[in-house]
Symmetry: C2
Subunit: 395 residues, 2 copies
Amino acid sequence: MKNVMLLIALWIFSLPNLQAQEAIFRSQDLISPEMEDNKVTFRFYAPNAQKVEITGDFLPTEKIDSPMGKVDGPGKVTLIKNDKGIWEFKTETLAPELYSYSFLVDGLPALDPNNPFLIRDVASVTNIFIIGGAQADLYKVQQVPHGTVAKRWYPSEGLRMVRRLTIYTPPGYEQSTQSYPVLFLLHGAGGDEEAWMTLGRASQILDNLIAQGKAKPMIVVMPNGNVIQDGAPGEGSKGFYKPQFMIPQTMDGTYEAHFGEIIDFVEANYRVNKEKSQRAIAGLSMGGFHTLHISRFYPNAFDYVGLFSAAIMPRKDATGRVYKDIDATLEQQRDNGYQLYWIAIGETDFLYDANQEFIKKLDAMKMPYTYVETEGGHIWRNWRIYLSQFVPQLF
Amino acid sequence: MKNVMLLIALWIFSLPNLQAQEAIFRSQDLISPEMEDNKVTFRFYAPNAQKVEITGDFLPTEKIDSPMGKVDGPGKVTLIKNDKGIWEFKTETLAPELYSYSFLVDGLPALDPNNPFLIRDVASVTNIFIIGGAQADLYKVQQVPHGTVAKRWYPSEGLRMVRRLTIYTPPGYEQSTQSYPVLFLLHGAGGDEEAWMTLGRASQILDNLIAQGKAKPMIVVMPNGNVIQDGAPGEGSKGFYKPQFMIPQTMDGTYEAHFGEIIDFVEANYRVNKEKSQRAIAGLSMGGFHTLHISRFYPNAFDYVGLFSAAIMPRKDATGRVYKDIDATLEQQRDNGYQLYWIAIGETDFLYDANQEFIKKLDAMKMPYTYVETEGGHIWRNWRIYLSQFVPQLF
């Protein structure tokens, strides 16, 4: 009996799943994606499918239909089936980047069962891979000193809940007695306190820039900008539910008005240099909108401000007291002075025009800023690059 | 132009994906899983499929073929297609639990595109959902005080690398000056420093048991037991690669021999009560094997020892110095004394016989232990339950 049990054990242990007794046998036992010389081969086993396609941001965008005519959509390529029922596609040489992809099997979405590395963006999950080199080496876990990443909960009296945030403390923080500068880093609509860590590779970027001597050791605080949530979907008390893109109250001023609580919490609980010269704030899309408004609502709090593809646009629900006296508070912020007001936008971003208008406004006000225009649109690829460019300018 | 941009913006903002300009349109816009009175409806859109099945641990196991004949495998049920091409299956009332599932579309594995909550077990990814009530309420994020969960790196001189671990500090830790007891909690083969947090719901279980007054506030340290890794797949310097079940050197004594480094790191960096009476160790499967050997290799270090479905079996690679003098060190551990030596195993676990033999050995040695036998096999459901039962007995 003992030998039979051991044989069963060895057989089960040869399966790729510890839950072997109730295993869900999913693995196809292929290698996908396979990387060689920055070319990537994708494989998908589907002997009876009529068509297997792959779609992802490693492919050129294609024009797709929208209510306003053709707009840029994700590229798509059909894989070739071999005699074993395995569909395959090999890319040309890809530029360094973190890419995401998924398959379409006879038109239906399917994740790559051979790649367990996934990323959630709002309610969509895709597979990811990294082509190293250039800026993408910043997105990898390298053999350098690593900061600590903590998920911590802070009491918000204003929002009447205990809320979750992500906090990065740099390598050496725990052994040191010094106080550190702080960057508050805000997510976009549909994101949460997880987004900059997963989609944005923030801790890897910070670890690597600090190791290269290109960034000062700093604390990075990544709060949740959705004031009706206590934590990210699946991580808060609302449990598992399908995340939405636009969440009520995200751009009505509530978050900005209570942002001081987050600053207070961090300064009370971490060794933080509380001087304005040691405080930065930046955000992407909706987080850029929040950054704009927080930095002028607290007009003498931040010496460094970063708007990444900021969602600067008129909003019907922007009725909160935060949005009163926009011009006067911007002037106050200007007069108080700061080191850097950094605006970055992609040339095909749908918020491009809105950002140009904002810049004109700043020009008219003689409010200093640095403007960076890049290729591409409203995409995480740009936001990782913007973070990598912004952080070395801080403190 | 501005109005057109705004219209495009509104259209894009109505999509479920912020990467709209390069969006991968995956969402099927169904509700799945839908829960009502602890019955769950699953839905999958596949108008052209011949057959859509669902497999998961909410279904009774079925006999499947193996080299040793029929063994228990995951249950499977076929969904019914409606005239809109949506396949549907509604369960009977399910008992409280965290369940995992995936679909099979014409025999091919597919995740639920309407459920972004996923869990990785070795190289397999499945969707998850929770039916609340009873023990499963411990697995939910409740509105109770939350501990902090940090991913931190410790220097291992013995393994010559800086290694990642997960550390849970209980609610109030940061505001307190007291020293806390510590539980070292070890994963199984194919797991890593993520496993107890994701599959094991350890931080939720601790938060909830502490809030209910059933467990003492404690620190929980979840290291990585794969000595050739510096971090979990995708989180360490090896980057993204397909995780394996049995990793070289996981059960050759290297981990156990260097475990003191982890204890030292935690005690040097956290407010830890260093008395034996305030130190516990437990692990599942391979982690139970590690627990057995660590607790007798350091025979006066732990007053609480937990073997959850422990992989007690002869291993060819168990040649390390740690495995010398097993009986003598067990006797030493017995003579030094301890509060609890807790052994739990499921009645259909393939390690059941091995655990019975170990118990006979302990009986013969007059080494005290507490034995708990449960239904079920070598599955996470049991390990969550074992953790929930073990933790209230500590300190």
